[in-house]
Amino acid sequence: MAESISRQPLLPFRIRIEPRLSEPPRWYPAVISLGAIIVALLLGGVVIALAGGDPLRSYAHIAKASFGSLGVLSDTIVKATPIILTALACSVAFRMKLWNIGAEGQFIMGAFGASAIVLGKVLPPEASRWAFIPVMMLAGMAAGAIWGFIPGYLKARFNVNEIISTLMLNYIAVSWVDFWIFAVWTEAGFQMSPKFPANTWLPRLADYAKAIPAFRGLTTHAGLLMGIVAAFLLWLVVFRSRWGYEIRLIGDNPQAAKYAGINITRNTIWVMMLSGALAGLGGTSEVAGVVHRLQTAPIAAGYGFTGIIVAWLAKLNPVIIILVSILFGALILAGREIQPSGVPKMIQGIILVCLIASDFMLRYRIRFVRAGKEE
């Protein structure tokens, strides 16, 4: 944009939009993102009011039902845990400009892989928790990685658009799990598997209530630990390793990466597998930590899609993802009770739209110039 756009001759000042030449200060992007969220909540309120709801009450309810007490805060963290892992999964793929929209399917396959260890009697049912949990984690990550490998391979080999292939695989994953819980592992003909034995569950805070009474009734489970460790490891990989440097270079400038001798084909497949494995770990944590049985409705609940928004909102930074996930966990937890039921989904959509629009403020600056005064 060589010339700046000038308009608004009626006002005593003119608005000039000009490209930002220098890097904005460090706090600036955070302020812009916060502003975008506030605008999004205002817009969401307008739509809630249009649909006949009371926006203030809806928002007050969300805040109270998600942060109001230690118990609900713990539930908020439980909802945030799968989002942390799916957002990490999206962030590493997005970093390479690989649009993995399939975290949802990889998450479901992860839950399937972990469940297969229990339901398929891979380990003897009386094995200890410390045998089950690592094996289930590995199986879940492997299943997710396979589900990421397919679109990665198709992209690398045939240049198949990964957005659509990953999305289609989401639907296939749901049907796949539906088949198993109906035909093979059904609980008395219902659309779910039998409940897993307690020695396959992830430990919860409440399990230690005897030693620490304050933990009584708290549902936060070890999946949170998986998310935090994964975020830290991913941060190391992306920002402190040679592989991470390659991923970032391919994302920023694929031409330069190619000339530098980086193998884009191989990286496409590996990054998609890593992304799938992270989402699969999320599925494992959800099935072993919360649901305790294989069932599509609570597992395919859209965590993979929320992960996309969270990754974007956190600017793909693994550590910030944890914080943003907790906010979105709150939105989902509280949103289950408010009417109309589509509100959390709509607010997520509006937040994402406002965020993308707000990026403009990072690249351009808006100046008010007094009329008649030209520099």
Binding site: M1, L154, F158, V160, I164, S175, F360
Partner: protein
């Protein structure tokens, strides 16, 4: 199970994909990738059904659906054309937004009643043609016939008219189009709007004609995404888009109908006696979309054809290159 009946219903089902795919072809030909088709279709389906019930007139529903989806599409146009943001992320956001808004505004709509279906009729003479007559021209709704007319019209508009040339120029080489005095920004807004209107029409076609009703996100069940995939398979050509859409429509019908009868071609129907196989049947449209993408992408690589050159690139007037 009568194959002709299935194909006849498949054409009606495929009309949904046809509208959405044609609309996306227009948007992408102008250089704007809009991944929000699914969201805009949901908006269209919800609006169409809602207005259809309130007014008792399905045509008003169709009109409102087209308008509302078109308006929603302009959010994407504003973000990608004016604010020059990433088209992929903006399109995704539009999908979330469309789904969310249609869920909120469509609350309670699934139990709100029924709308009188659009009348179906046969075309004299054309319906007498063997095989093709019963499939394409017997007992179809007006929207299906509208689809037939749109295929050659869209092809002719894109390939043989002056505005169609401008459309292609904007998508292939916007700087040159700009130098010729074509308003690139205005054209992109316009064709994103066309894409939105068509997606709205597709959504209303579901909720008012093909499978009347509002079933929240299951109303579209990923057809918007299949349409985006079909555009690649179609190589941005309306005629190929039509072939793909009707083939997918027939496939969807076949999957629904094959599980009903007890015998199939004189043999015991395995899908009737093993209802669990139905889950694998349900995967087929999505698996086929991936296969169709592989075919389309390989062909594009071999023939060195492909997407409009400026697809996905924001146009910034006065910037060097491109």
């Amino acid at each position: 199970m009568d194959l002709i009946v299935i194909l006849q219903a498949g054409v009606a089902t495929g009309t949904v994909l046809l509208f959405a795919t044609l609309g996306e072809i227009f948007a992408e030909r102008s250089g704007v990738l809009n991944l929000g088709v699914e969201g805009m279709m949901l908006i269209g389906a919800m609006t169409g059904f809602s207005v259809g019930i309130k007014t008792g007139n399905p045509w008003l529903g169709v009109l409102a659906a087209m308008l509302f989806a078109g308006v929603i599409s302009q959010i994407h146009a504003f973000i990608t054309v004016t604010l020059q943001a990433d088209q992929v992320v903006s399109g995704l956001a539009l999908t979330f937004l469309g789904a969310g808004i249609s869920l909120v505004l469509g609350e309670g709509l699934s139990k709100a009643g029924t709308v009188s279906p659009m009348p179906a009729f046969s075309v004299p003479l054309l319906s007498q043609i063997p095989i093709l007559g019963p499939i394409f021209f017997t007992n179809q709704r007006l929207l299906v016939y509208l689809g037939y007319l749109m295929i050659p019209a869209a092809w002719y508009y894109i390939n043989r008219t002056r505005p169609g040339m401008h459309l292609r120029a904007v998508g292939e080489y916007p700087a040159a189009a700009d130098a010729l005095g074509i308003n690139v920004y205005r054209m992109r807004y316009l064709y994103v709007f066309v894409g939105g209107v068509m997606a709205g029409l597709a959504g209303a076609t579901i909720s008012l004609a093909v499978s009347p009703g509002w079933f929240s996100e299951l109303t579209t069940a990923g057809q918007g995404w299949i349409a985006v995939g079909l555009v690649i398979f179609a190589q941005w050509d309306p005629v190929r888009a039509a072939v793909g859409s009707y083939a997918f429509g027939a496939l969807r019908r076949l999957i629904l109908d094959i599980q009903g009868p007890t015998t199939l071609f004189g043999l015991a129907n395995p899908f009737y006696y093993n209802p669990y196989w139905g889950f694998f049947l349900k995967m087929l449209p999505y698996a086929f979309t991936v296969i169709v993408l592989v075919i389309g992408s390989r062909e594009a690589m071999r023939k060195r054809l492909g997407a409009p050159a400026a697809l996905g690139e924001p146009y910034i007037r006065g910037e060097r290159g491109k």
